[in-house]
Symmetry: C2
């Protein structure tokens, strides 16, 4: 018994369950040089929404009626590959299938001795590395500065904010519920939190909690939150454009205040990136994140949903902010 | 007989002559350590519009009923300063007065042996340095890339485009008349030119002349020209936000398409700056620009308006693009 999840139709606006289809497929046989993998943990991430559009981007769009894919941790259940054996755990980009074969070229071995296996999809995976390289390479935070983070209770934001604290910054987080605000302050050591659901004037709310202005803004959401951050940005401020989840389901290009005069007047840098730009430095990033985890300076949180059938739902829930920390689906 | 020009009222929208007032004032006496200066050339620049607003910015706003100021070349007509003597020419930020005294602390000596004195307000002054540091520090151009420049026939754009050519890029310029397009191609060596006055679809016009996309965009104008550049931007593109002249006279914050998803998807950097950020590297910049001028690789153009009384007019004309190259007022 094997199953896959394919893209049945391209979402218009917010994705729904009808955009996905479960298919019963054959369980494949590994060839020489291949492993047979059983999916254990599946990462669902906002950026996958972009791949569901029929649009050229930094990564190929998903094709209709073909399996979706994301970062996965899988177990080797049969190996004809010289480097891996049964019982090994591998991670990398894999399809949304219960079983699949792979030549393992773009997979790496991980183990759950020090951290849970799911951590390789979060703090020690793409989202942790995204926070790490965005902060260190684009944000270039200096002790004593003020960092603002949106999506602060999410997989990337929670790590970005903690890196800010480790580097000696004052850190203000924006998130969508009192529960999340409590979490970022109590578990993740943020200095201040703004519940955007209870905030009418975001510019004023930021000004109140960051009276010295914002030096670094780690943006996961875009739109009016970005505008409000720009209204508080300091000279030589850096905006890390990591994501814009509030805009991913828009069907027309959204409008907002033009930011170019602020950029000029205040010598501000806004820089977008994807984590893959730093591929050749992933080991460095993972080592540093692992050290901080081991020392207890860095903490992480996961929202684990159980069951292969729940993958589409978990993905859709990201856009309602139902996750705290990294959203991961555990497959039995 | 001495005169000054003061800010009579703050412009609303486009500045008019009524915002300025000429005042007859005393001719001052230099004290010990001072020089008496006679104004020879006055620079008028779009950024001065920002100082006419009652708004905190990187530079103090002009005060009502107080003299305006900009970069000036002046002649020493009397000296009680040990370093300077009668007949020397000095340049720096000075007030719009026919005669003024100064301790010369922020002035430097220039001479007209190799270049015209007015060049120190343009290609060897703030505008040349603006183009130089914007291109080299933010644009980081690579041979074989494509550079787009708006305000291409202006003081900054004409130099920025030529630096692009010197560095081996394909250079496309945007300007406001056929005469300017001819100039940037024939004198400044640009590969292509777009007359925005005759262009309905700027995105398509850029695409046609830069089919490989834009790697570096040197923006002097902002607004829909920036949007069109962003529609053509390549992965890892760099936008040098130098100015936004099309927005300086707006009375409300203008709106436009949100750019954050493009920044993320294409790993684009947008960075604003003012030339003063590079103050400690001005000598390096002037040396390089002088070398290129001497070798003939770099050319410059000036629009010289005659008469102290013409300063406000010359300033206002900037917003109609009446200048070609650097707009300078020559004072008799």
């Amino acid at each position: 018994m094997n199953k896959s999840i394919v893209l049945k139709s391209r979402p218009e606006g917010t994705p729904t369950l009808e955009n996905f289809e479960f298919k019963e497929i054959e369980k494949p046989e590994p060839q020489d040089g291949e492993v047979l993998l059983k999916t254990k943990f599946v990462s669902v991430d906002p950026y996958l929404r972009g791949r569901m559009r029929d649009e050229k981007s930094y990564i190929e769009p998903f094709e209709l009626d073909q399996p979706l894919a994301s970062a996965v941790v899988a177990e080797v259940v049969e190996s004809k590959h010289e480097k891996f054996q049964k019982g090994d755990f591998l991670t990398g980009m894999l399809e949304w299938k219960m079983f699949q074969t792979s030549n393992a070229k773009n997979l790496r071995k991980v183990n759950g001795d020090q951290v849970s296996l799911s951590a390789y999809l979060g703090v020690l995976g793409m989202t942790g590395l995204t926070a790490y390289f965005g902060m260190t390479d684009i944000g270039v935070p200096e002790k004593g500065e003020t960092l603002l983070v949106s999506g602060a209770a999410g997989a990337v934001g929670s790590i970005a904010g903690q890196i800010g604290k480790i580097k000696g910054l004052k850190v203000v987080g924006i998130a969508g519920s009192d529960e999340k605000i409590k979490l970022i302050q109590e578990k993740f050591n943020f200095d201040e939190g703004i519940n955007y659901g209870k905030t009418d004037d975001m510019t004023a709310a930021i000004k109140e909690l960051a009276p010295d202005g914002i030096d670094v803004y780690f943006d996961n959401v875009g739109s009016y939150t970005l505008d409000a951050a720009m209204n508080n940005i300091n000279r030589h401020g850096r905006v890390i454009n990591c994501g814009a989840i509030s805009l991913y389901n828009e069907t027309e290009q959204p409008k907002g205040p033009r930011l170019e005069t602020t950029l000029v007047k205040k010598s501000v840098k806004m820089q977008g990136f994807i984590v893959r730009n730093y591929e050749d430095q992933f080991n460095e990033g993972i080592q540093q994140l692992s050290k901080w985890l081991a020392s207890g300076e860095l903490k992480h949180e996961e929202t684990i949903v159980e069951g292969f059938d729940q993958i589409p739902n978990a993905f859709i829930d990201l856009f309602d902010g139902k996750n705290i920390g990294k959203m991961v689906v555990k497959v039995d």
